[in-house]
C-alpha cells in the first residue's frame, strides 16, 4: 500500500508541475505582461522601469524557475493590488469557499441519496420518471441562470432569504469563539441557503441518477435475489443489503465532487457576492493581479489532487476486493 501511495504522490507532483506551468504561462498569453501593469499614459521609460521591477526582463526559464522554487515554499510574491502576500489573501478567502462547498455537498448528497433509492426501488413508476426528469433538468440548467432565478424568486419576490453576502461561521468556530458562532448561526445559515442550493443543484441531479443506476445494478445481483427468496422484507433488502454496496461508486464521486465544487463555485460566488477564492480569482484576473491568480489556481489544484489521492486510498477500505498491486 505504501508503494501505491508513493507512486500516487509522484504522479501528483507531476500534475502539480503541469498546473504550475499553465499558471505561469497564462501571464504571457497576451504578450508582454508589463503593459497590463502600467497606466495608459505611461511613457516608454516608465514601462521599462516597471518591466525591470516586476522581473519581466529576465529570461523566461529564469522567471519560471524563480516561480516554482518560490511556489514550493508557498511564496507567490505580493499581490499587486492588495500589497499583501498573495497566498495570505487566498487563504483568507478559504473559509468562505469551504462553507459554500460544504453546503453544496450537503445539498448534493442528502437529497440525492433518498431520491435515487426511491427511484430505483420504484423503477419505471411515475416517481421514477419524474425524479429522472427533474435530475436531467437540474443538470441542464446553467448555474449562473439558476442563481439569478433564486435571487429573483426567493430573494426579491418572496423576500424569504438574503440575496448576497456572508456571515462567517467557520472562523469563529476555528478560533473557539462559540458565543459568536451560535449568535451568528441563524443569519449565517440564511445567507448560505441560496448560494448553497445554487452550488449543489448540478451535483444533486447527477448524484440522484448515479445512486439510482448504482442501486439498480446492485439490486440485480445474485445475493439480492437470494435475500428476497429467503423472505427478507424489501425495505431490508434495499437498505441493509443493497444500499451499502451501491454507495461505493457514489463515495468515489464525492471526493471528486468536493474538488469540483471548490473550484466550480467561481460563478456562484460572483452571482451571490460570496467572498470566496473563486471570486477572488476572477477579480484578480480583471485587475491583472497574476500573483493572486497563480496562488489561487495552484491552491485549488493542490486540494483537488490531494482529495483524489485520499479517495483512492480510502477506496480499498470501502471495497476489500480492491488491492493495490
Amino acid at each position: 500500500m505504501f508503494k501505491y501511495i508513493g507512486r500516487r504522490l509522484g504522479q501528483s507532483i507531476i500534475v502539480m508541475l503541469g498546473v504550475s506551468l499553465l499558471a505561469f504561462s497564462v501571464l504571457f498569453l497576451s504578450g508582454d505582461p508589463t503593459y497590463l501593469y502600467v497606466n495608459e499614459r505611461a511613457s516608454a521609460e516608465q514601462i521599462q522601469e516597471m518591466r525591470h521591477q516586476l522581473g519581466f526582463d529576465k529570461p523566461i526559464y529564469v522567471q519560471y524557475w524563480d516561480f516554482i522554487s518560490n511556489a514550493a515554499r508557498g511564496d507567490f510574491g505580493k499581490s499587486l493590488r492588495y500589497g499583501q502576500p498573495a497566498m495570505e489573501i487566498v487563504l483568507e478567502r478559504f473559509p468562505a469557499t469551504v462553507e459554500l462547498t460544504m453546503v453544496g455537498m450537503f445539498v448534493a448528497l442528502v437529497f440525492a441519496i433518498p431520491l435515487g433509492i426511491l427511484a430505483a426501488s420504484k423503477r419505471n413508476s411515475i416517481l421514477d420518471g419524474g425524479t429522472m426528469v427533474l435530475a436531467m433538468v437540474g443538470q441542464s440548467i446553467p448555474g449562473y441562470w439558476f442563481g439569478l432565478m433564486l435571487i429573483l424568486i426567493v430573494g426579491v419576490h418572496w423576500r424569504l432569504l438574503p440575496i448576497s453576502g456572508r456571515v462567517p461561521l467557520l472562523e469563529p468556530l476555528l478560533h473557539g469563539d462559540f458565543g459568536l458562532f451560535f449568535s451568528s448561526l441563524g443569519d449565517g445559515i440564511r445567507h448560505l441557503i441560496l448560494p448553497g442550493v445554487a452550488s449543489g443543484i448540478w451535483s444533486l441531479s447527477r448524484n440522484t441518477r448515479l445512486v439510482r443506476s448504482s442501486m439498480l445494478e446492485v439490486l440485480g445481483v445474485d445475493y439480492i435475489t437470494t435475500a428476497r427468496s429467503k423472505g427478507v422484507p424489501e425495505r431490508k433488502v434495499v437498505m441493509k443489503h443493497a444500499f451499502r454496496n451501491a454507495m461505493i461508486p457514489v463515495v468515489t464521486i464525492v471526493g471528486l465532487e468536493v474538488g469540483f465544487l471548490l473550484s466550480g463555485n467561481i460563478v456562484i460566488e460572483n452571482v451571490f457576492a460570496w467572498p470566496g477564492i473563486g471570486r477572488l480569482i476572477i477579480f484578480a484576473i480583471n485587475q491583472k493581479d497574476f500573483n493572486v491568480v497563480q496562488a489561487g489556481v495552484i491552491t485549488l489544484a493542490f486540494f483537488f489532487v490531494m482529495l483524489n489521492l485520499l479517495v483512492d486510498i480510502l477506496y480499498t477500505w470501502l471495497d476489500p476486493r480492491i488491492r493495490y498491486n
Partner: protein
C-alpha cells in the same frame, strides 16, 4: 433498523432546528419602526453597492475609482474638486503660482490634527510628497504613477509651519487640480507601521474612519465627531462589492442597498418602474471615440490618412440614433475631445449626412468605399461592442465595409500601449474637468504615449509650443479654443460621446452622482 430510525429522527430534528434558527432570525429583521430623518441618519447605515471590492488603503497604491471613492472619506487633500467641478480649499486655505512659474505656494490650515494626535503642518505635506517620489517603494498607484510624472514634480519645500512650496519641472497651470487627488497622511503613523499594516488600517484626517473591513465583503466607515470641518450627516457608511450587477439591482429593489453604481442600461426600465428606487445618470468625463490610426497597415489604412475620409466617416454615423437605441437616450453626440465646462462653444458635432459622406469619399478617391478593420474592446466601457457594431453598420451604408473585431481587454490594452492598432479602433480615454489643455494633451505631440492615433498637424504643433509659454488665462483660453477647433476639423477621431455613468438609488437618499466617477457621501442625508 431501530438505529437507522433513531439516526434519521435525530438528523431530521437537527435540520428542523437549524432551519428554524435561520428563519426566526429573518422574521425579526423584517420588523421595523418608523424613524425620523435624524434618527435614520444616526442609526441606519447607508449601504452602497460597488462593482469591485476595495484592494488597498495605501495612498500611493490606490488606483481604482472604487478605492478612491472610499479613501475620499478617510483622507483629506490640500484642495478638493467639488461636485460642481470647482476647486475649493481643504487642508490648504489658499494657493498661488510664484514668479518663476514652476513653484506653487500653499498656505495651510493650522487647526487640523490626525486621530493619533499628530498635528498637520507643512512638514506633513513634504513627507507625503517625498514618500510618493521615493522610487525604492516601487509604488504603482495613481499618485506616483501618473500625477507626479504628469507634473514633472520635483518635490516640496517647507517655508514655515503652515506654508509649503511644491516645485515642478516646468509651467504646470493644472497643478492645483492634480494636487486635489493626493491623499494627505501623517508621518509618524506611516513611518512606524509596515506597508501591510497601513494598507489595511489607514489613518487620515478625513471625516470618517474605518470600523471594519472584511475583504470582498464590506467596508464599514463611521463618522468622526472630532472632524475639523463640516461633520457629515450620516453616521455609518457600508460599501459592499457586487461583481454581478443583477445582484446589486436586486438588492436595491429589495431595499437592502441604498445606492449602486455601474447599472447596466438595460436594467434602467426595471428600476424606473419600481417604487422606492430611481435611476440617476450623469455625463462622465470619459471620451468614447473611434480613432483613425495614422500609421496602421492593412486595408483602409491609406484611406484614413485623408482628412476628407475622416470627416466623411464622422458624417456617416447617426450617433443620436445609436445613443437612443442602446443607451435609452442618455448621452449626447460630441464634436470634440474636451469636457464641459472648458469645451469651446464653437465646437458642434458633425451632422449625420450620409449623402455628404459619400460625396466626400468620392472626392477622396473612394467612390465605392473601402474595406477596413474596426477593433473594439468588449465589456470595458458601457455597450462598447454594441456601439462599434452599430457604427460598423452605418459605415457599410456609405460603402465602407468595416469588419468589427472585439478583443479581450488585456489583449487590447497591449495593442494600445504598443500602438499596434488597426485603422479604426474604439477607445474610451479618461479626462478631467480641470482644464481644456488637460483633455487636449492626449495628442500633445505625434510621439506622445497617449497619442494612440499617431496624429500630427503643423498648426497644432505651433499652437502647442505657443501655449507652453503663455501664462495669461484669457490668452491660454484663446489658444486652447483654436486647438479644439483644429481637432474637430482635422478629425483624428470619429467623435461619439462623453460616456454617461449610470447609478441608481433609493428614494430615501438625498444624493447625486458626480461626473468623475467618485462616489461621495460626505454631504448625503436620508430623507422621507
Amino acid at each position: 433498523m431501530r438505529k437507522g430510525l433513531a439516526f434519521g429522527l435525530v438528523a431530521a430534528l437537527l435540520m428542523v432546528g437549524l432551519l428554524t434558527t435561520a428563519f426566526a432570525g429573518g422574521q425579526q429583521d423584517q420588523a421595523g419602526e418608523e424613524m425620523t430623518v435624524a434618527e435614520m441618519n444616526e442609526s441606519r447605515p447607508l449601504e452602497i453597492g460597488m462593482p469591485n471590492g476595495i484592494t488597498t488603503f495605501e495612498p500611493n497604491e490606490i488606483s481604482t475609482k472604487t478605492d478612491v471613492s472610499v479613501a475620499e472619506h478617510i483622507f483629506d487633500k490640500l484642495l478638493n474638486l467639488n461636485a460642481e467641478k470647482e476647486l475649493e480649499p481643504m487642508l490648504a486655505t489658499s494657493w498661488e503660482l510664484l514668479d518663476d512659474n514652476k513653484t506653487w505656494r500653499f498656505e495651510l490650515r493650522d487647526d487640523v490634527n490626525f486621530p493619533d494626535g499628530e498635528h498637520f503642518t507643512a512638514e506633513t505635506v513634504k513627507y507625503v510628497i517625498d514618500r510618493g517620489l521615493d522610487k525604492s517603494y516601487g509604488w504603482k498607484g495613481n499618485t506616483p504613477g501618473y500625477i507626479f510624472p504628469s507634473l514633472a514634480l520635483k518635490g516640496a519645500k517647507v517655508v514655515d509651519d503652515y506654508t509649503v512650496d511644491i516645485m515642478t519641472g516646468g509651467y504646470q497651470p493644472d497643478l492645483p487640480g492634480y494636487i486635489s487627488e493626493i491623499f494627505i497622511h501623517p508621518k509618524a503613523y506611516y513611518e512606524e507601521n509596515s506597508l501591510e499594516t497601513v494598507a489595511t488600517k489607514p489613518l487620515g484626517s478625513g471625516p470618517y474612519e474605518i470600523k471594519e473591513w472584511v475583504k470582498d465583503d464590506h467596508v464599514t466607515l463611521v463618522r468622526r465627531d472630532d472632524y475639523w470641518g463640516d461633520t457629515p450627516t450620516i453616521k455609518t457608511l457600508i460599501f459592499r462589492p457586487f461583481p454581478e450587477s443583477s445582484t446589486a439591482v436586486a438588492e436595491l429593489i429589495n431595499g437592502t442597498i441604498d445606492v449602486i453604481s455601474k447599472v447596466p442600461p438595460d436594467q434602467a426600465p426595471l428600476i424606473d418602474k419600481t417604487n422606492g428606487v430611481e435611476m440617476r445618470t450623469v455625463n462622465g468625463g470619459r471620451r468614447i471615440y473611434i480613432g483613425f490610426q495614422q500609421t496602421a497597415d492593412g486595408p483602409g489604412s491609406e484611406a484614413v490618412r485623408d482628412v476628407r475620409v475622416r470627416r466623411a466617416l464622422n458624417m456617416a454615423v447617426d450617433i443620436d440614433a445609436i445613443l437612443n437605441s442602446l443607451l435609452y437616450g442618455r448621452g449626447e453626440r460630441e464634436g470634440g475631445m474636451v469636457n464641459p465646462p472648458h469645451k469651446s462653444g464653437d465646437i458642434k458635432p458633425y451632422p449625420y449626412d450620409p449623402e455628404r459622406a459619400k460625396e466626400l469619399l468620392a472626392e477622396a478617391g473612394y467612390p465605392n468605399g473601402f474595406k477596413v478593420e474596426l477593433a473594439t474592446p468588449s465589456g470595458r466601457y458601457t455597450k462598447d461592442k454594441e456601439i462599434a457594431l452599430a457604427v460598423g453598420d452605418y459605415l457599410k451604408k456609405v460603402g465602407v465595409d468595416a469588419e468589427v473585431i472585439p478583443y479581450e481587454w488585456s489583449v487590447y490594452v497591449s495593442m494600445i500601449k504598443q500602438k499596434e492598432l488597426p485603422p479604426l479602433y474604439l477607445l474610451g480615454t479618461g479626462s478631467s474637468f480641470l482644464s481644456a489643455w488637460y483633455d487636449l494633451s492626449d495628442l500633445v505631440s505625434v510621439d506622445a504615449a497617449t497619442n494612440y492615433v499617431n496624429w500630427q498637424n503643423d498648426e497644432w504643433d505651433r499652437l502647442v509650443e505657443e501655449l507652453q509659454v503663455t501664462y495669461d488665462t484669457a490668452e491660454r483660453k484663446k489658444i486652447t479654443d483654436k486647438l479644439q477647433m483644429i481637432v474637430h476639423e482635422d478629425a483624428p477621431w470619429l467623435f461619439i460621446y462623453m460616456q454617461v455613468d449610470w447609478y441608481a438609488k433609493s428614494t430615501d437618499v438625498d444624493w447625486e452622482p458626480r461626473g468623475d466617477e467618485i462616489m461621495d457621501f460626505k454631504h448625503t442625508s436620508f430623507k422621507k
